[in-house]
């Protein structure tokens, strides 16, 4: 069971991957997205970390993002961010 995750910046498609879970720093609180999450849209906090769990129980990969926006729909999770720092 994998979640289709895309991270897009204005300059390029930063990441397109199948992952287990992503914890997204929403404006109104962090939320974890697994496969089959109900559709939602949220703006993101600036300079907060996006945590990507490649597999269940793995150490998360952290990416700092700014100016972000997350969208969950049937096809997966898309994060639009103005800046991304590894």
């Amino acid at each position: 069971m994998a979640l289709k995750f895309e991270l897009v910046t204005p300059e390029k498609l930063y990441r397109s991957d199948d992952v287990y879970m992503v914890v997204v720093p929403g404006t109104e609180g962090d939320f974890g997205v697994l496969e089959g999450h109900s559709p939602m849209m949220s703006t993101l906090r600036n300079d907060a970390a996006l945590e990507i769990y490649k597999t269940q129980g793995a150490t998360p990969e952290r990416l700092m993002i700014a100016g972000g926006f997350a969208e969950v729909n049937a096809s997966g999770l898309t994060v639009l961010a103005e800046r991304v720092e590894a």
Partner: protein, 293 residues
């Protein structure tokens, strides 16, 4: 008839011009590849954002409290033309085509009694527009090398434009740039930048038919995304321009190289004829001299 020496010099000078245009063509070809890659890389973001913005915008009812970037100022009197060109010439009709479209639209609007103001990006656009619309240019930007523009640069222009829009400096903003179709074709294009043109079709572009949760609510998301959309459109226009400029330059320099080649051929024939004529004259003189003895 020109002397042999003058012709020789002329041929050499055309030859070195040809070398330069050939080198410029090669440079443009290399830059073109990078520019088209950049233009393609910036497409997914722009497409996603546009889809999200128009799908939310079609859900939000437009009222006096909705963001100005969506609702507009309610008037249609003052138009701002954001004309994106480049700083450098020698790219065929690239800059001229964009300016010509903008000028035609401006004259049409003026004939209807509207006011048109200009916001130019690129030295060439400013220079050409200031011939006819000197007083109407409210701001000009010199972007430098279009291929090296980052999102941060464009964001500043977007903020400036949004601030001017909020301050009621204009009612509608249009963006002019050259769309890159392929190396041979670049189409000058006009799009509406502000207020956001919401596509009327309720087409379910992002699969939003199911009940979607919004955090915070739709209006707040929209208020944050709309200014960003302006910057993204500007970035897209400049990326397309960067590719178009290099494509246009490549074609122009290819033509120049070919013309130089034709000219060299013509001059060489003339040179040889002159040389032959000189030899013939000399021979006639010698023969005439020998016969006289």
């Amino acid at each position: 008839m020109a002397s042999l020496k003058a012709l020789k010099m002329r041929i050499n000078s055309v030859k070195s011009t040809q070398k330069i245009t050939k080198a410029m063509k090669m440079v443009a070809a290399a830059k073109l590849r990078r520019a088209t890659e950049a233009a393609e890389a910036s497409r997914p973001y722009a497409e996603r954002l546009e889809a999200v913005v128009s799908s939310i915008a079609s859900k939000v009812s437009v009222g006096p409290q909705s963001p100005k970037l969506l609702a507009g100022s309610g008037k249609n009197d003052v138009h701002l033309f954001v004309v994106a060109t480049s700083d450098k010439g020698l790219a065929g009709a690239f800059n001229t085509n964009i300016v010509r479209l903008a000028r035609r639209q401006a004259e049409a609007l003026k004939a209807e009694g509207k006011t048109v103001k200009f916001y130019t990006i690129g030295k060439k656009g400013r220079d050409q527009l200031s011939r006819t619309f000197r007083g109407d240019i409210i701001h000009s930007i010199e972007p430098g090398d279009l291929g090296k523009l980052t999102f941060a640069d464009v964001q500043n222009w977007g903020e400036d434009l949004t601030a001017r829009f909020e301050a009621d400096e204009f009612d509608v903003a249009h963006l002019f740039f050259s769309k890159f179709d392929n190396v041979l074709t670049q189409t000058p294009t006009q799009i509406q930048l502000m207020p956001v043109a919401v596509t009327a079709d309720e087409g379910d572009v992002v699969g939003l038919s199911a009940t979607v949760e919004y955090e915070p609510d739709e209006e707040e998301i929209l208020a944050e995304l709309l200014p960003r959309n302006v910057a993204v459109q500007l970035l897209r226009a400049n990326r397309e321009n960067a590719a178009s400029e290099q494509g246009s330059k490549m074609t122009a320099m290819d033509n120049a190289t070919r013309n130089a080649g034709d000219m060299i051929n013509k001059l060489t024939i003339q040179y040889n004829r002159t040389r032959q004529a000189a030899i013939t004259t000399e021979l006639i003189e010698i023969i005439a001299g020998a016969e006289a003895l």
